[in-house]
């Protein structure tokens, strides 16, 4: 390995801290049980704690020490691992994209991580990762890698680097190598070249701006050049005369014509979007994403007793007794109040969770590759080919539906993710066609409100079973709690209305090669599926449905565990779909 480089020394601190972060649950457990946990107060306990800290420090240091990477003529080599050594070689021309990311912890230290993605790489897990670099250096390296990549690709096209330059020997200095590959004179190092290079070498992805004034764009500070109307990526700032706003707007490249002719078209974003804080806040306020919060509450519930006991000894009993004393007097108001309090808390919590989950959401499209990343604490990022999209899914919770907003997802198959990826967490429904035009040009969505809905006679198939279940539950409750069980009967009208709404929302539509399915459980979900992506199509019917000439339609798509299904659509609407999908009747 020649010219080996190392990560920033900050890596030691950051590894140290993130190792400790893994221990947080343990620490909490120990603190809570401190009273009954004499071991921790003994000399041995303290010694053990100190030992853990020291070991962690040593390990962090070693893992920094053993992490080396070097830029070779045609590849980057990464060596790492304290006990298990690992060496990874990535050829520049295989690099698909180079991302610089700043998770919270790194941001605090002014550091960043650099991720090298290759087409075969797993999503959300970069092929090569340089954990901790100074932010400025990471961006520099990003550009350098991109430069080397394209230089390599060019050289390869011209028949190989060595032949081109007439030199057979391996060149150890990467900068020198890249110069030779690019056919440049020796005077200028790559380093400088990509930074200040001629206009044709304008770096692209990171928008390190190479304008005439680019020398002032020192580390970490990004400026859009005076002429640039490109969207500014990362944590950029728009230059004074930049015509486009940076945050929160869908940005299409406008001056792409001239730029497209440049040598690095490959890297150019065809589409880029970064969520603004305002939109994120609106999205979280309307998310109604209670399940996360509920799980969280259940999670802390087990701790709650212990915590309360430690913080306010005796409070729990007092409170409980208080409630029981008052129970006869004003139970309903108290219960209602408590319920509202808990619900309010859950709501706030769900907002916070949503903000953390989808914070810093960004999506970009480069040629046919889409790249999505989001998350404040835990950064998730996915890259997939637009041809791998099996279905587009529009999800509207009741609140958002009322306000005219939706969440857009896609069903993709990737090597380790079989799930629906959010490609836009919060979008005005009116804007969807325009956005899809740019994001997935071959998937124009036809957002019609009126689909072929289940007929009125289908209501029985929607409501009968849930109502029977509620009745049985009510019967059980009455048998068990006597008169109080009658309250459960109040659920009957709720269920009846809910099922009516479900039926009203359901529907199918056939539009060219697209099948549109819509259903509601609580959220209204619309699936847009292309014929070629349907693995199997099936129709199912119970005797009641057969009598009324209704069927459920099930559409199985790759990447989804369950089929997309819509209940009780009239046969007259389903038969065209059946023959549309059938290979036989078509001819």
């Amino acid at each position: 390995m020649t010219n080996a480089r190392q990560l920033s020394k900050l890596d030691i601190a950051i590894t140290f801290i993130s190792n400790i972060r893994h221990l947080i649950p343990l620490i909490i457990l120990v603190i809570i049980n401190l009273k009954g946990f004499d071991f921790m107060k003994s000399l041995w306990g303290i010694l053990a704690a100190v030992l853990i800290v020291i070991l962690n420090g040593v390990f962090s240091f070693l893992s920094w020490k053993k992490f080396q990477y070097s830029l070779e003529q045609d590849r980057i080599i990464i060596r790492k691992g304290v006990l298990n050594r690992e060496e990874k070689t990535i050829y520049y021309n295989r690099i698909h994209s180079v991302n610089v990311q700043q998770p919270l912890l790194l941001r605090i230290f002014g550091a960043a991580s650099l991720q090298i993605e290759t087409p075969g790489g797993k999503p959300g897990q970069a092929e090569g990762k340089l954990r901790v670099l100074k932010h400025g250096y990471a961006l520099e390296l990003q550009q350098q890698l991109k430069y080397l990549r394209s230089a390599n690709a060019d050289a390869k096209q011209a028949g190989g680097a060595n032949e081109l330059t007439g030199q057979g020997q391996l060149i150890s200095n990467p900068e020198e190598a890249a110069e030779l590959i690019a056919g440049q004179g020796p005077g200028q190092s790559v380093h400088e070249q990509w930074k200040t290079g001629p206009s044709s070498n304008e770096p692209v992805l990171g928008q390190v701006q190479a304008g005439p004034s680019s020398k002032q764009s020192a580390h970490g500070q990004w400026q859009a050049g005076p002429d640039s109307s490109e969207p500014v990526h990362q944590h950029g700032q728009a230059g004074p005369s930049s015509s486009q706003s940076v945050h929160g707007h869908w940005q299409a490249e406008q001056s792409s014509e001239q730029l497209r002719n440049g040598p690095y078209t490959e890297d150019r974003y065809d589409y880029y979007y970064h969520i603004s804080f305002g939109q994120l806040l609106k999205a979280s306020l309307t998310s109604l994403n209670l399940n996360f919060a509920l799980i969280f509450i259940f999670g802390i519930y087990s701790f709650a007793d212990d915590v309360l006991e430690v913080v306010f000894p005796g409070l729990y009993d007092k409170l409980l007794n208080g409630i029981i004393d008052q129970y006869s007097a004003l139970p309903i108001i108290l219960l209602l109040g408590l319920t509202l309090l808990v619900l309010g808390f859950v709501w706030l919590l769900s907002i916070a969770i949503y903000l953390i989950k989808f914070g810093d959401f960004q999506i970009s499209r480069t040629l046919e590759q889409l790249s999505v990343s989001y998350g404040l604490l835990e950064k998730k990022s996915f890259i997939f080919d637009q041809n791998k999209v099996q279905a587009v899914i529009m999800d509207e919770n009741p609140l958002r539906q009322w306000l005219g907003f939706a969440e857009l997802r896609v069903q993709v198959i990737t090597s380790n993710a079989m799930e629906q990826l959010v490609i836009h967490p919060f979008v005005r429904k009116k804007d969807i066609p325009a956005i899809m035009e740019q994001l997935l040009p071959d998937r124009k969505l036809d957002l019609r409100e009126q689909l072929l809905a289940p007929p009125r006679s289908a209501y029985r198939t929607y409501a009968l079973l849930p109502l029977i279940i509620v009745l049985l539950a009510a019967a059980g409750a009455i048998w068990w709690w006597k008169w109080n069980g009658l309250w459960l009967l109040l659920l009957l009208p709720v269920i009846a209305i809910w099922r009516l709404l479900c039926m009203r929302s359901a529907g199918v539509w056939l539009e060219g090669n697209d099948l549109i399915l819509r259903k509601r459980s609580v959220n209204r979900t619309t699936y847009f599926v292309r014929r070629k992506h349907i693995v199997t199509l099936s129709m199912k019917a119970s005797p009641i449905q057969r009598k009324r000439q209704l069927h459920n339609i099930h559409v199985q798509v790759l990447g989804s565990v369950f089929a997309y299904r819509v209940k009780s659509i009239a046969d007259e609407h389903l038969l065209p779909i059946w023959s549309w999908y059938s290979r036989r009747t078509k001819e």
């Binding site: 292309r530 070629k532 693995v535 199997t536 199912k540 790759l558």
Partner: protein
Amino acid sequence: MQRELTQKLHPDYVKASRLSSILFHIVTLLLVSGWLVFALWKDWTLVPVWIAYGILLVSFVLFTWIVPIYEFRSFSFEVFEEEIEIQSGIIFRSNILIPMVRVQHVEVGSGPIMRKYKLASVNVVTAATKHEIKGVHQQAAEELKQHIGELAKVDEQHD
């Protein structure tokens, strides 16, 4: 959905299905009886045992006499040039369409009871789903496997 499917299961499927139901119920009967003995010995309540016997009786009648016949009657399939259609389900009837281009492979398998009647089941596997044609003659199953395998090779040119 709108066309008649001509292929049926082999009539012996009913016999095989009955035999396996009888065997299953005998084993379960022995287990429940064991439980009865244990409950008598330990002086436990016998209510669950009687319930289990009741369920067992009903399920015996259902799955030995009624279900196999209706299963046989309601199951039909057909292999077309470009797709397979399978109809199944006694109460909840389902029609499924599997395009040949989606078929990944075909599996043929048979248990000891099925083998006794020279029957086998054919599993048509796609990337996402698996569909069973359970109970055709062994030779027919082999032919079916070959046939579908041939047809599934064809590339799809159009969307």
